[in-house]
C-alpha cells in the first residue's frame, strides 16, 4: 500500500479535498449557487428601480441619509437564506442518506471531518457571497446612474468596507446554518430554525421583552447586518463591533456543534 506522511496538516488537507469533491459532485450545489445569483440580482433590479423612482419624492433630510451603496446590498436579505441552504446541505444531506456513517468510517477523527466541512462552507460562501455583493453593488449603481439619481463609487468613503462586509456577513450566515445542521441533523429542522433566526425574530423583535434588545444589536438581519450601511446609523455607531458580536455567536454555536458531533452516536 502507499504510505502516507501523516502530519495533522496533511490529514486535514485530505479530508478537505474529499469534502470538496463531495460538494462539487452534486448538481444541487451548482443549482443553489445559480439560484443565489439569479435571486440576488433580481431583488437588486426590483429594489434599485423602486428606490431610484422614489428619490424624487424624498425630503432634504432624507436625501442627506441617501445610501446608494447600502441600498444596492439589500439583496443580502434573500441571499442569506440561499447561502444558508448551502451551509445546511453539506451536513444534512449526509444524515438524510446515511452517508454520514460512511464518511465517519473513512474519517473517524470527527473533529477533523467537521472542521473540513466548516472550512469548505466558509470558503465557498465567502467567494460566492463577495461575488454576489460586488455584482449587486455595481449593478445597483448602474441602475441608479441610469435614472440620474446619485450613486456611489467603490472608492467613496466606507463603500468598499460595506460591500466586502456584505460578503463576510453571508459567509457567517452559511456557517450559522452549518452549526444548526449539526445540532439538529435534519434539513427541515435546520432551515426552519434559520428562517426563524434571520427573518422571524427580527420581524417580531419589537414584541420581545426589553432585555432582549441588547441581543438584537448582534443579531443577523439586525445589528449584525449594519456593516452594509455607509451612512452612519445612530443605533449602531460601530457596526463592525456588532458584526463581530454576531460572529462570536456563530462561533459559540459551532463550538456546541463540535462537542455534539464528537459525542453522539451516528
Amino acid at each position: 500500500m502507499t504510505t502516507i506522511a501523516d502530519t495533522p496538516k496533511a490529514a486535514f488537507h485530505r479530508t478537505h479535498r474529499a469534502e470538496w469533491i463531495k460538494l462539487r459532485s452534486l448538481r444541487s450545489t451548482w443549482y443553489t449557487l445559480a439560484g443565489l445569483f439569479v435571486a440576488g440580482l433580481a431583488v437588486s433590479a426590483l429594489s434599485m428601480t423602486s428606490s431610484a423612482n422614489g428619490y424624487a419624492g424624498l425630503s432634504a433630510a432624507e436625501r442627506l441619509a441617501w445610501d446608494p451603496a447600502g441600498l444596492s446590498l439589500v439583496p443580502y436579505i434573500i441571499a442569506q437564506l440561499i447561502i444558508g441552504v448551502l451551509g445546511t446541505l453539506v451536513v444534512t444531506s449526509e444524515y438524510a442518506t446515511g452517508l454520514i456513517q460512511t464518511s465517519l468510517a473513512a474519517t473517524p477523527r470527527r473533529h477533523r471531518l467537521l472542521a473540513a466541512k466548516a472550512v469548505l462552507v466558509a470558503g465557498v460562501a465567502v467567494i460566492a457571497g463577495e461575488a454576489l455583493m460586488f455584482a449587486s453593488f455595481f449593478f445597483g449603481q448602474a441602475v441608479l446612474a441610469a435614472h440620474d439619481v446619485p450613486s456611489a463609487g467603490l472608492g467613496d468613503p466606507g463603500v468598499f468596507a460595506a460591500v466586502a462586509g456584505g460578503g463576510l456577513y453571508l459567509a457567517a450566515i452559511a456557517l450559522l446554518a452549518t452549526g444548526l445542521s449539526v445540532v439538529l441533523r435534519s434539513t427541515a429542522g435546520a432551515l426552519t430554525t434559520l428562517v426563524a433566526v434571520i427573518f422571524l425574530a427580527p420581524a417580531l423583535s419589537a414584541t420581545f421583552p426589553s432585555w432582549t434588545r441588547g441581543l438584537f444589536d448582534y443579531w443577523p438581519t439586525q445589528g449584525g447586518a449594519a456593516v452594509m450601511a455607509t451612512v452612519p446609523d445612530p443605533d449602531f455607531p460601530h457596526p463592525w463591533l456588532n458584526f463581530g458580536g454576531m460572529c462570536l455567536g456563530v462561533a459559540a454555536l459551532l463550538a456546541v456543534a463540535f462537542v455534539l458531533f464528537r459525542r453522539r452516536d451516528v
Binding site: 500500500m1 446515511g98 465517519l104 474519517t107 452516536d265
Partner: protein
C-alpha cells in the same frame, strides 16, 4: 497475522434501559468468513457500529489489529465496511462517490478504477446512483470497502433483497476475500445462507452470545439426520430395519423415515435381504430449525433470568 483480527471483549451497549448488546466477546480471524447471526433486533448492526466507532460502547472494548478504530490513521487501508448499501447520495455519480472516499484516505485515484472493475461496475461509473438497482448499490458499497485493500472486511446483511444471482455473486466474493487471507465478518439472519458462505459462526440473541463455533462443528452438533427410504414392500423392510436396531416411522406416499441408522447401513441391509430400493435419501434437520432452536433458548433464558 493476529494484527488483522477484530477482538471484542465484554462489549455492552445500552440505549436507555434497553441493553442492546450484552457483555459480548468474540474474535474475527483472518482467512475466514465469520457469519454473524441473530434474529431481528439481536444487536448485530449495533455491534458493527461499535467496531467502527460510530456508536460508543457503554462498556467493554473492541479493537481492530489491537487498536481502537478511531485511532486508525488511514482506516480504509485496514478495515472496509458496508453497513447500508442505500447510504449513498443518489445524485452523485458512482465514480465521484468512490473518489471522495479514496481522497479522504490519501489513496491513489487509480484505486477507484480498480475497485469498479473488481465489482463489475466500470460501465456505470459515470452514472448517478439514484438509478442503480439494489444489486448495483450493493456492488458499489462493496467497491468502497475494497478501496484501501484492507485486511478486515465487515458487511451488514449484504444479501438482503438480492436475487439468486446477486446472492451467489456476493457469496463467492466473500469466500474469495477470505481465501486472500482477509478477515471477513458478515451478518445475516439466514442460517441457510451462512451455511454456504461462512466457516465460522457467531450467533447472538438479545445482544448475548449464544454460540461461537466452527461451521462444521455446528453442522455436526445439530443432531443426526434421518433417511428417507422407498422400498417395494415398505412394511416388510420396516420390520427388517427395526430388527437391526433402527427407528422407523411412516413418511409421505408410502415412504418410510429411518433414524438411528446411516444410509450406507440401510443400503447394505436392503441388499442382504434382497429388497429393491426406489429411493434412499439422507435428510438433515433444517438449518433454520437448528438456528431457531438456538435463539429460542436464548429468549427463554433471558425471560427466566429477568
Amino acid at each position: 497475522m493476529l494484527l488483522d483480527m477484530i477482538e471484542i471483549r465484554g462489549l455492552t451497549k445500552r440505549y436507555g434501559h434497553q441493553t442492546v448488546v450484552d457483555d459480548l466477546s468474540f474474535t474475527v480471524e483472518p482467512g475466514h468468513v465469520t457469519g454473524f447471526l441473530g434474529p431481528n433486533g439481536a444487536g448485530k448492526s449495533t455491534t458493527m457500529k461499535m467496531i467502527l466507532g460510530l456508536a460508543a460502547p457503554t462498556s467493554g472494548s473492541v479493537t481492530v489489529g489491537g487498536r481502537r478504530y478511531s485511532g486508525l490513521p488511514v482506516p480504509l487501508t485496514e478495515v472496509g465496511a458496508l453497513l447500508d448499501a442505500g447510504a449513498v447520495h443518489g445524485s452523485r455519480k458512482a465514480y465521484d462517490h468512490l473518489l471522495a472516499l479514496a481522497v479522504s484516505n490519501g489513496l491513489p485515484k487509480r484505486r477507484v478504477g480498480e475497485v469498479l472493475a473488481r465489482t463489475g461496475l466500470e460501465g456505470v461509473a459515470g452514472k448517478r446512483t439514484c438509478g442503480f438497482s439494489l444489486g448495483m448499490r450493493q456492488r458499489l458499497g462493496i467497491a468502497a470497502t475494497l478501496l484501501g485493500d484492507p485486511r478486515v472486511l465487515i458487511f451488514d446483511e449484504p444479501v438482503n433483497g438480492l436475487d439468486p444471482e446477486g446472492i451467489r455473486w456476493i457469496r463467492d466474493f466473500m469466500r474469495s476475500l477470505a481465501r486472500e487471507g482477509r478477515a471477513v465478518l458478515v451478518s445475516s439472519h439466514l442460517m441457510s445462507e451462512m451455511a454456504l458462505t461462512a466457516d465460522h459462526l457467531v450467533v447472538i440473541g438479545k445482544g448475548r452470545l449464544i454460540a461461537d463455533t466452527g461451521m462444521t462443528a455446528f453442522m455436526r452438533s445439530r443432531g443426526e439426520g434421518t433417511v428417507l427410504v422407498r422400498a417395494a414392500e415398505p412394511a416388510v423392510f420396516s420390520r427388517h430395519l427395526t430388527a437391526a436396531g433402527a427407528t422407523v416411522r411412516d413418511g409421505l406416499e408410502a415412504s418410510i423415515v429411518v433414524s438411528g441408522m446411516a444410509s450406507a447401513e440401510i443400503g447394505k441391509l436392503a441388499a442382504y435381504h434382497g429388497v429393491a430400493l426406489a429411493e434412499l435419501t439422507p435428510q438433515q434437520p433444517s438449518l433454520e430449525d437448528a438456528f431457531m432452536d438456538l435463539t429460542e433458548d436464548s429468549v427463554e433464558f433471558q425471560g427466566a433470568g429477568a
